[in-house]
Symmetry: C3
Subunit: 388 residues, 3 copies
Amino acid sequence: MTLRHLTSINDLSVSEMEKIFLHAQAYLEELGDVQSPFRIARSTEGCRGSILATLFYEPSTRTRLSFESAMSRLGGGVISSADPKSSSAVKGESLADTIRIVSGYADLIALRHPREGAAKLAAEYASVPVINGGDGAHEHPTQTLCDLFTIRREKGALAGLNIAVLGDLKAGRTVHSLVYALARFGATIMTFPAGGLGLPDSVDWRLRNELACERLTGNDLGPEIAVGAIYQPRRPAAARRPTVDVLYVTRFQKERASDGVGEYPVVDSAFLSAMALREALVMHPLPRVDELDAALDTNPRAAYFRQASYGVPIRMALIRQFLGYQSEQTGTPDSRESVLQQSDLVCANRNCISRDAVEAQSAPGKFVVVAERRPRCFYCEDETIDAC
Amino acid sequence: MTLRHLTSINDLSVSEMEKIFLHAQAYLEELGDVQSPFRIARSTEGCRGSILATLFYEPSTRTRLSFESAMSRLGGGVISSADPKSSSAVKGESLADTIRIVSGYADLIALRHPREGAAKLAAEYASVPVINGGDGAHEHPTQTLCDLFTIRREKGALAGLNIAVLGDLKAGRTVHSLVYALARFGATIMTFPAGGLGLPDSVDWRLRNELACERLTGNDLGPEIAVGAIYQPRRPAAARRPTVDVLYVTRFQKERASDGVGEYPVVDSAFLSAMALREALVMHPLPRVDELDAALDTNPRAAYFRQASYGVPIRMALIRQFLGYQSEQTGTPDSRESVLQQSDLVCANRNCISRDAVEAQSAPGKFVVVAERRPRCFYCEDETIDAC
Amino acid sequence: MTLRHLTSINDLSVSEMEKIFLHAQAYLEELGDVQSPFRIARSTEGCRGSILATLFYEPSTRTRLSFESAMSRLGGGVISSADPKSSSAVKGESLADTIRIVSGYADLIALRHPREGAAKLAAEYASVPVINGGDGAHEHPTQTLCDLFTIRREKGALAGLNIAVLGDLKAGRTVHSLVYALARFGATIMTFPAGGLGLPDSVDWRLRNELACERLTGNDLGPEIAVGAIYQPRRPAAARRPTVDVLYVTRFQKERASDGVGEYPVVDSAFLSAMALREALVMHPLPRVDELDAALDTNPRAAYFRQASYGVPIRMALIRQFLGYQSEQTGTPDSRESVLQQSDLVCANRNCISRDAVEAQSAPGKFVVVAERRPRCFYCEDETIDAC
């Protein structure tokens, strides 16, 4: 029996995700249509007596409140630390110590942290499941579950679809979790990066080497659209179509950028009139700033508010799964890897949790060796490594 | 069936308020006397399975905690965002977007915001009822329900009473909601403004033109007291008496003032010894700073702690009403108005939510046309309008 | 019938503490072993319908979340104000007013405050029990209950043990509550103060004059360890042994220090190899910074994470006791004292709640006269008094 965590979307097998979608669908029906006023709110009592801790070291409305709403709808209790300045972090406490302690107060921990790899570190020290609610620019797997659930509801399936991701693909953690999952479900990924903000090398490498994608060059979507790259399953379900099924827009992650960005695309009705986008469903993890025109909100193709509304049933299903089924450990993509602990190497990503002065003792240089590749950081999954 | 909100005290009919008072009285008896130690706390399970979201963009102790206590006493759940710096607002998200999202997480939203008209804007985008917990200097209707409930308990009725409001009547949002309600219940309002801080023109206009008050000049309360104006029902219940039944004291709203205030009245036992105030009940929405002497606290006429203690039963009754009876839409004073949307006009109140750069797209110039008067802002209800 | 509060560990009799330990043990078994994953979380419904308010004017993770988890496990509700900047304190409201109001919203208040004596002040104005979650450098009695419970579980008893307290004994509030309790349970206290940070005179005086301790000089623990003082029960249970049973480490309270500290001891395996410490259990109230080497974490003598894990069952027992048994007032060490209110004297401790400008009116000069001694401050229990 091993304790299960959700630090990366790759911690879940495809069949586990399918199970979560099935349960989320049931909760959605039980709650009533969350889009309509006068819905009758009903809660299951399935988690009465259990406690969720939400530890948020970065601002959040959506993720924290939807986790808390989900736990409340399940009849459970919530304890929350939403402001880092009100917590013991200001006294210099390490994340490892905080997590060990909070493990004694709650049955499940949802964590958001500004450093990449923080969820992985937390999982090492927790005695209850840790769910990553966003760790720096690394991953945001629970958002991805909402995204996938939305696409399946609106498009019927994931395999064979053309999904375009647009905007800040470098620091956008929701994009990283999403593309891994899309690859595993057999979708084709098209990138429309804002200037200089393409997928990190580590994500590109994993798509091609671990998730069986072929990177295509060339652009058959027409001259109106600046495609970065196309990642296609090695054995695609169908012949390629020069149209986009889903356009996934993201905001510029200014809080993670070292400097400003040049031109950032704005998705409005003009943008969507390009031939290849004529049928595209528009999604966005929100919050949006200026990159998505509010005039689109009433367009039936605008799926982003529906997407957000699935946050509660998805997290209800996820909480149930992690509270009740920890023992069903199944193979994950990482299961064949060996972990290497080496004190003379450090991760080159300065925002990795292992580079934080307070956390250093709890998070020593630790690397995953994958095939013939040079090791990648166990925490942030970056592949650039420095000597100490 | 229309979704009901409580953005202004004028959204409730007199009979709806009476119903809330009746239910609050029942809850008060059920909870035991909240003034006494050793009370037996009991909760009804009337709202089990429902969730209240408290979104507070301004500091609060009383309003937020009493809402949350009320929902907890009703057996329901609470999700809370109490610190704007920990929410998605810091990422530049508009209130409209936040409200649409949180509508999917909760069954009722209590909102506090520093901008006038924010609750009105939120109500436009919510798919669940929005209750205004204070919007800038505009209104604070749930405080008014506590105020009215207190006066009725202590004085037996509202019609025919002389109620004096003292202090910062310009920015004091509790005063604005209170005077509208007092006018509708048939009380006479006397204003004792601190220097330069009288009722806004828009409130004065509505009292005289929409709420059937006559503004009297002259002062029959004696030379000791600086009366600003007297608003009396057109058909008063009784002849005017030169005494004050209730003195409603408010603090200087320094967070909304562009500059300091000159002399601010201090209510102490000397002040209360004026002939016209000899029998006056002393009320205050709290928090107080220096304008109300703590030496009065033990005086039986000091009703402010009793007034505060009704916060929970009143909000229990309100939550029940808005969760359960959304469909009983009844006429409100605004129901005969027409709304005019005009993009070449803007509200002249720079603190109106429609003047906020982030909110501009969600809150376009929108005005209510009342009778032969020039239009007033749909959001903040101010009447000064500029061309763009 | 008197309302009971827990402002100081001395508010509880030894038999009341024994009762709390007994109930905590039962809750611990009911919850399952909180150290193990896959525990089955279960809650009692013993406090359903009751509400706990956590008012924290200083940062906290452990104390606040363990209180909230305890109340949630008991089936009760929680309302929380964890960020002073989001509360009415920013509008200038006094603690006395806040407490009076919140007494109407909750059935029990847990308070943390940066000023010494704040809990005592709160207790004077509350109509529900107030539990001190730490008041400045004064006391932290609920931490002490966890500490005592840990020692009893690991060592079987308290009487006759040698307990060493190390570090910042001056500002470390957990130490003050702990040494009072240890003296009452018949343990011997050894102090290892960091340079200049010994026990305050007032704590030393009470140990010797009120809690029947003899202060010994000399050091029989060997030259490796710098003992400050030894406090031994007047009629010790057994002959003194030159060994330490428990080493209680504390961090430097930098937030309360006027200037930095010189050398601060670091407890690591070298430190623990001193002959007198060879068997010592290592405890720490946490958070730790650098004074306790993380390399000790896996040492079976390291009891600090177990100690932290008792926070929930101890607070469950405490909440039950204070919600249900307020009427069982028993004699406390202070019961023979007389209280003197004298407006021409002020407490000399500038951080005492009675010296706060906003609180001054609610907390006038008030002193406790003990035997032939000069009076000590009723609030912060300091003995230095100035004329106004």
